[in-house]
């Protein structure tokens, strides 16, 4: 089954180390997650904007037990909801610190997009975030 173009464009950009956000070419509004028609003006003329990759951590969790099928060997891992400075938000994975933990994260702290190698994006096509420079605690 072919991958939807709005999905493949987003994933290919992740593989190049870029975080894209969908932008309506008619009303100019940003959409996340990407849609098939603009949810604001219903236009089908949809393009992309490159995100600056900075945002705020709205919430996070560290999953320690009960991984979904295929994720068993990655436990524990951390998930976060990030609101980008551009205003839209997304679910992402969070980078562990040097000790392999996530105690350096807290709600409302500034976070930054972390580019991953293309092979990793191929395997797990999702965005990663870490503490914004100088904001870990």
């Amino acid at each position: 089954m072919a991958v939807d173009p709005i999905v493949s464009a987003f994933r290919e950009a992740l593989g190049r180390g870029e975080l894209l956000v969908q932008r309506c070419e008619d009303c100019g509004k940003l959409n996340m997650y990407p849609r098939h028609a603009c949810p604001f003006c219903q236009s089908f003329r949809l393009g992309w904007a490159k995100s600056e990759g900075r945002g705020t951590l709205i919430s996070y969790t560290v999953l320690r037990f009960g991984a979904p099928e295929g994720f068993e060997h990655e436990l524990p891992y951390a998930l976060g909801i990030v609101r980008l400075d551009e205003g839209v938000q997304l679910l992402c994975r969070l980078e562990p610190d040097a000790d392999g933990g996530w105690n350096h994260f807290a709600c409302d702290q500034p976070v930054a997009f972390v580019a991953k190698p293309a092979e990793e994006v191929q395997r797990r096509p999702c965005a990663w975030f870490g503490p914004a420079a100088g904001t870990g605690h």
Binding site: Y33, I58, S59, T61, L63, G66, P68, L79, L90, L91
Partner: protein
């Protein structure tokens, strides 16, 4: 021809939809019970409670099971009409599905059918076999439902992580402590001690025990996560005119309803610590003409403590930001000022899938019919708040029920 009941608000037209009977089987692990057998038993229990037989039913509405799509197909294709012996007489049999809030939407559907004259007596049925199903299969299934495959599945998100993301945000926004969150679970466990159908009847729980259990998805401990259960619940709705004609003096009407679908994917919820409750509550209270402090009890979806804590705030049962601490105060406990989830809820009666909300609804109806038994009946209650949600907590649904007199 309206009849003046015990309450000024219970003046009812002939076609006003009312609940007249409920049935339920014990929740827990029952490997020797069967899906169709449980559905048949619970149907007959609810009909007997309403003083009816299957032949009195013209429409069956099914609340889906999640343990097996083959079993769900049996329901979709009207198996229960044949099992109950009303083939050739039943007008319609179909499924309504919105995940955990299905019970609220099935009530709206049934109410519309009865009020418009498209149905007279409706039997609503649910059975789940989660407690006896393969746990790994259920975890896999629950890690796909309500999670967009394109955008969130690749992160490794699953159901406990969704509950944890809401809990973390709620604790940060309100200053609620781990002990406050655990207190919600302890209140539910107290109620379960009074419910013969509850999975955790006979097993007490303390805040210390919750906090000592292993961390599953920070900040959620193992004892804050729901246990999958087998269970079955049913209820009967008919028109007020038909109920009166049959001499059914105890009945429950729908005073108001409201809802808000606030997201699909958890990553797109703009206010994780509030969800859609305030809007849903405002609409429901406006329709009913009464407010939270006119009710004597509430039955609110509780697959995680935070879901209920957020709901009691949005429903105006306590001050904003105080939901978890309100449970800590004991207000919702047996003997408290505002009994909440009097069957033990999903967390202590057992999580019967889509039926967790159905069990809470059935308990609310049972309380208003004054048939909850001597241990947990809220004495003289006439108004109950029902709150529904589920999935990724994408919707907040409110039904306001009231006892209608003869």
């Amino acid at each position: 021809m309206a009849t003046q009941g015990a309450l000024a608000t219970s003046v009812q037209s002939e076609n006003d939809p009312v609940f007249v009977g409920v049935g339920e089987l014990p929740s827990g692990r029952y490997p020797n019970r069967s899906f169709i057998g449980d559905l048949t038993h619970v149907a007959l229990l609810a009909l007997a409670d309403a003083g009816m037989k299957p032949a009195d039913v013209d429409t069956i509405l099914l609340i889906p099971n999640l343990h097996s799509f083959d079993a769900q197909a049996d329901l979709v294709f009207s198996r229960m009409v044949e099992e109950l012996g009303i083939a050739g007489q039943a007008k319609a049999s179909f499924m309504v599905h919105s995940g955990g809030s299905t019970s609220d939407n099935v009530v709206r559907t049934a109410a519309g059918l009865i009020a418009s004259g498209h149905a007279r007596t409706i039997l609503v049925l649910h059975c789940e076999r989660w407690g006896s199903a393969n746990l790994a299969d259920m975890v896999t299934m629950l890690s796909k439902n309500g999670i967009p495959a394109e955008w969130e599945l690749p992160t490794g998100l699953q159901f406990n992580a969704i509950g944890a993301l809401i809990t973390q945000r709620y604790m940060a926004s309100t200053g609620s402590t781990p002990a406050d969150m655990a207190a919600v679970c302890v209140t539910l466990r107290k109620w379960a001690q009074l419910n013969p159908n509850a999975m955790y009847r006979g097993k007490t729980l303390t805040v210390e025990q919750v906090l000592a259990s292993r961390m599953v998805a920070d900040p959620l401990h193992a004892m804050e996560c729901p246990m999958l259960a087998d269970g079955a619940a049913a209820f009967v709705m008919t028109s007020a005119g038909n109920a009166r004609a049959r001499g059914l003096d105890s009945r429950v009407r729908i005073a108001g309803s409201g809802g808000c679908v606030s997201h699909y994917s958890i990553g797109q919820e703009r206010d994780l610590a509030a969800l859609g409750w305030a809007k849903a509550a405002e609409d429901a209270y406006a329709q009913a003409g009464w407010g939270p402090h006119d009710a004597q009890l509430a039955e609110i979806y509780d697959s995680y403590a935070v879901v209920t804590a957020i709901a009691v705030e949005g429903l105006g049962m306590c001050a904003k930001g105080e939901g978890a601490r309100w449970f800590t105060s004991g207000a919702a406990d047996p003997g408290g000022t505002f009994p909440c989830n009097t069957n033990g809820g999903l967390l202590s009666a057992g999580h019967t899938g889509v039926g967790g909300g159905t069990a809470l609804l059935v308990e609310g109806i049972r309380q208003l019919l004054w048939r909850a038994g001597p241990e947990r009946q809220v004495e003289g209650c006439v108004r109950c708040i029902i709150g529904g949600s589920g999935g990724s907590y994408m919707d907040s649904q409110v039904l306001l029920l009231e006892r209608a007199g003869a």
